[in-house]
Symmetry: C2
Subunit: 344 residues, 2 copies
């Protein structure tokens, strides 16, 4: 038994309908909808075939059919009509970006908000990893005795604060001197390539503080890696709008899952190498997203992969629409981030 054109058309119609209504689609109602050229009986027969082939499932006898994950897969890969954003929508989208011109972090947070508000699903954005970026400026600022604030600016414009321990005999002037020395020596290097040898090779009073400097630089990288704020989450509660989550327990599980920054981080990190990904239901590795689908896109600046962002919704999400929104955001983001690095 093969998937002939009629089966495909019917399957697509079922998926389209189910994405809208969230309730099982029956042969009769389907045959009444416009541009359905066949009677309910024919559709019934085809539906039975599609069920044997694994594309449809029946919640129970005498209910309509709902698409299986296999059907969504097929839909996404071969059947989906690429949605087209209306002018209004793309203007709306642009609006979010115009609002914030204040720093890369703000732009990415804004992105998360835009995505969640426009799609009505949940959005996650992976903040760029500091390790691959090049150091541009390091400034140590004295706080209290034994502690200082380290501010790192990279070519990506990402800045990061962390409180670090400093030797007690290190005064404000020395902090400033070290800041300048590091900025001069390592400006332009990748954050992750600074090793103790490189530090020792420096002359002057920096040499005798070599251990401190090395600890400082590695701890900055580690700090960043552990910093859970690398994933920006927005619109988690949007999911409560969907009948899929009218059960409070399901909602609770979902919210608990997406609020685990760690697993969101892993998910987005893995997706940073791919232009787009669509992960449907149980294809998700994350426990707790098995009833959801995740669509991600990655963003690049000057060809360098920077990070990724995605939308999480119910399995019956509107893939076509989400994909076109993501692709729109992807290019917007590319342009805007580029402008932060223009002098490179």
């Amino acid at each position: 038994m093969e998937l002939d054109s009629r089966k495909l058309q019917i399957l697509r119609a079922i998926v389209d309908e189910y994405i809208l209504s969230a309730s099982p689609v029956g042969s009769k109602s389907l045959s009444q909808s416009s541009d359905m050229k066949w009677s309910s009986a024919t559709i019934r027969n085809e539906m039975a075939d599609l069920e044997v082939l694994g594309y449809l499932a029946q919640p129970h006898t005498s209910a309509g059919r709902i698409p299986s994950e296999k059907a969504y897969r097929l839909y996404v890969d071969r059947m989906m009509r690429r949605a087209h954003l209306s002018d209004e929508e793309s203007k709306l989208l642009m609006g979010y970006f115009r609002e914030h011109v204040n720093g890369m972090d703000a732009v990415l947070r804004s992105t998360a908000k835009a995505l969640s508000e426009i799609t009505h699903y949940t959005a996650v954005v992976l903040m760029p990893d500091i390790g691959v970026n090049r150091l541009k400026h390091l400034q140590l600022i004295p706080l209290v005795e034994g502690k200082a604030l380290a501010v790192v600016v990279t070519d990506a414009g990402v800045s990061q604060n962390s409180v670090i321990d400093i030797p007690f005999d290190m005064g404000p002037e020395e902090l400033d001197r070290i800041s300048k020395a590091i900025t001069n020596r390592f400006g332009g290097c990748r954050m992750s390539t600074v090793s103790s040898e490189l530090v020792r090779e420096l002359g002057g009073d920096l040499a005798c503080r070599a251990d401190f400097v090395e600890t400082l630089l590695t701890s900055l990288c580690e700090n960043q890696a552990k910093d859970r704020r690398m994933v920006e989450l927005s619109g988690a509660t949007n999911m409560l709008e969907f009948p899929e989550y009218s059960d409070v327990n399901k909602a609770k599980t979902f919210l608990a899952t997406v609020e685990q920054r760690d697993s969101m981080y892993r998910m987005l990190k893995k997706a940073s190498n791919m232009e787009f990904t669509v992960t449907i239901g149980s294809e998700n590795e994350q426990e707790g997203l098995q009833d959801c689908s995740v669509v991600t896109a990655s963003y690049r600046v000057n060809g360098q992969p920077f990070g990724s962002f995605g939308v999480i919704g119910p399995t019956r999400m509107d893939y076509a629409r989400v994909l076109s929104i993501l692709s729109n955001v992807q290019s917007n983001l590319g342009t805007i981030l580029q402008s932060y690095l223009k002098e490179e």
Copy 2:
């Protein structure tokens, strides 16, 4: 009709029981519970009186009674036995603070987390306002042409980053010079007291950049005021555990409300002047918290009011327990924050 001792005892028992069970308390079950010296009939009569007096309400005839807001008010003001934290609990609480010694912001975020995890309610923490604090260090760090990152450190240890516009002809050296000049001149002054006259009175090349410096300083204050991250929220989804929120719509409303940083900010700001506040049900001004109660405490450092924090829970929250946790946190916080300012 007066509230004699017996009525008070019965009322307290009802409130205690309802806080635990969340379901209407009947005369019979109450009379069977330990240390109830009266028969169900007597309790019934008293309950009827208490209902007339407005302390109890009946969801419907032939159901038990539930406490009214008036009853909670009385309970909190006059009847509540102050709960005592077990050693385990207070150790647990201390643990949260020991974890993070990294900066004041981290401590306060940690506080929010501790509060929500230990109470199982929702916690909010107001970050200290930068305006009343004294400037300790200002550092301008070049980003791209025309933009710089301003990092402010105050005596409170609060640091704040914002991206600012700078004149195009201002190079890294000048930024550094200005940073030092401002730090020298205004170190120790309140952020909000820097006026244009003070700026002009400075000699040297700072004078010709007076406009810039003034704009800079005021915009830093404004930025902070607008920055919505001044309120740290934690454990909002804890509320889904309670039967009060087994209806998804109620849950949605609640979540939407507490995620509005603005209104949480107003609420906590108002509470910063009070040692403790307990706001019950409709006493809340915030639309959407009318079915909740909010308990707050303020924290001070060196007698200076700094900010406040609070717990939001269902009206039947365990006030005694929450209050003793808050008071514990209050003193912990005082001690820890003090240590950040010890060299003052």
